[in-house]
Symmetry: C2
Subunit: 334 residues, 2 copies
């Protein structure tokens, strides 16, 4: 397997990206194609190519975080994200991973890989930690104004992702909403509820914000605006509360000792660390494209590569296609 990794994308590129690539190549034994500035990558790599598992593909341009995504990828044909995505299109790589501009990665994936026929809007599928595991939240920000059929497609793709990549049989699908009752919601969720309950999915009904982190469902579908706001609010709150814990513990430091304070914080940080959960696949494009957090360091990059590897191994894209064809056939029969 070959993963094309955007070596120039993210707050800590290329250093942390190259480190993550090396860790992934060694741990998973797969080929990583580092895409970006030849010289800078070679300097970071310093000859340590994980026994030949790591190679460099030169791409002289970079899309900045502040650039307009569509314009940027149209102008910068030799940018690392465009070249990395083209490697997948050409069959030279099985997946693309980037921690750069999410908009640029979405635009590259849409224009170069294209959408799976039958999918109107690809969705960013993020994993959130819950009290007893993880929940797949989609869409986490790719589509800000969704229609009912988009949520239907998110539900189908999210179910297949949870089943194949997370290994959950009959994933429970929830609809993010403001009340448990079928009668609660806005125009979009009211219409989505009546559609979702008719589908061949394990639909468990509405999931309120409060239940999102309680593991009541394996997949939660929502409009990309809501998903993005909730995801970022959760990140901000988690970090804020960790800060509070740190302050409260600080007061105890003289009593319980610095080592114990650090031990306590370490345990919490591990459990709240989003880097553990790696990247978010852009489900619905005709290829594997995994979005990693802009602040990713080596560990997050390694885990994003793991997500890409498993998504390829579990043949998620073919599974989504097959499911859509099945529905089309069904549609014809009826």
């Amino acid at each position: 397997m070959r993963i094309a990794l955007d070596a120039m994308g993210g707050d800590h590129a290329p250093m942390e990206i190259v480190r993550g690539a090396r860790d992934a190549a060694q741990e998973f034994g797969i080929h990583i194609l580092l895409v970006g500035d030849q010289d800078r990558i070679a300097k970071e790599l310093n000859g340590e190519d994980a026994g030949g598992l790591i190679s460099i593909v030169h791409a002289p341009e970079v899309v900045g975080m502040d650039e307009h995504p569509v314009n940027a990828i149209r102008k910068k044909k030799k940018s690392s994200i465009v070249v990395a995505t083209q490697l997948v299109k050409a069959g030279s790589a099985d997946a693309v991973v980037s921690a750069g501009s999410t908009g640029a990665q979405m635009a590259s994936s849409l224009f170069i890989l294209g959408r799976i026929p039958g999918i109107d809007r690809p969705a960013i599928s993020t994993l959130l930690p819950t009290s007893d595991g993880v929940v797949v939240l989609l869409d986490a920000g790719a589509n800000v104004d969704c229609r009912t059929q988009h949520l239907e497609q998110f539900a189908m793709m999210g179910s297949l992702y949870a089943e194949r990549v997370l290994g959950l049989p009959h994933p429970r699908i929830g609809l993010l909403n403001i009340g448990e009752e079928e009668t609660k919601g806005n125009e979009l969720t009211l219409a989505a509820y009546s559609l979702l309950k008719k589908l061949d999915l394990n639909f468990v009904g509405n999931v309120e914000g409060r239940e999102l982190f309680l593991g009541r469902s394996d997949v939660v579908v929502c409009d990309g605006f809501v998903g993005n706001v909730v995801l970022k609010a959760a990140e901000g709150l988690a970090m804020g509360l960790l800060g509070m814990f740190q302050q409260e513990l600080g007061r105890m430091e003289e009593v319980i000792g610095r080592e114990r304070v650090l031990h306590l914080l370490g345990g919490l940080k591990r459990r709240m660390d989003y880097a553990e959960y790696g990247g978010a696949p852009l489900l619905g494009v005709d290829g594997v494209s995994v979005i990693s957090h802009g602040s990713s360091r080596a560990k997050a990059i390694k885990n994003a590569i793991r997500v890409a590897k498993e998504t390829v191994e579990q043949k998620l894209v073919p599974a989504i296609k097959a499911n859509l064809e099945k529905d089309t056939v069904k549609g014809v029969d009826e």
Copy 2:
């Protein structure tokens, strides 16, 4: 001042409601009218009427949490929430407070008190704790499908609330959105941004979910669907993380001692306790109506009464009316 309190509303009614009323009457020296089943309230009150500050207004019916709000308040003219709201309309009370069905309280407030002329959609205005204080989030769930002018009205009302009741001069008004740039957002927030920046408000631009709890703005406006989901997600996550912290500390108990563990947890719980922040006024109705959390105990009820008292004292409703008239006049001049 007289506050009409729905003694039958909430998970712990009437006991905790009556206790909260007694605490508020004693601490604030104001009259509380306990509205509900005469006998049950009298039994809870047990003659302790805070030196005559507490009296009972009999209302034989109760609106259940599972009833359709509008139908329920139409049918149950003698329900505690309807009678309590009528006391305000009649001038026998200055404000109504309830921990019962939010929908029933909204419906009662809309039908009995009515909307302030110029306000299309009253908004639930909740206080959220931030790293350095509180932020007013509105709408927290009254309106699930908002238009641009609704967000404009929320911004104006939220600004006056923060200025008068929270005592913040020139409150910073933010728009909950998925990016900082003016070009980010969905149809609603893109249109709202260009409207809000033209208004006579201290508009500080878009606020991302991550910044919501960082105190970057004093007021954050959003659609009621998004606000409700974010608010409940924050509650759920905060409780979940407190549980994690409890577990981590539990492991340390033998080492640092049970007392210190409890002390640490106490400090954290206080800082994360939503009951501290009391109730959420339904801004935009022609009277003071404060919504308290359904799980409210005595402390939360007392604090909701405090919010009602301050909202009355600071003449928030007249201030909103004056502001709308000013704008109308301005409109005419132009």
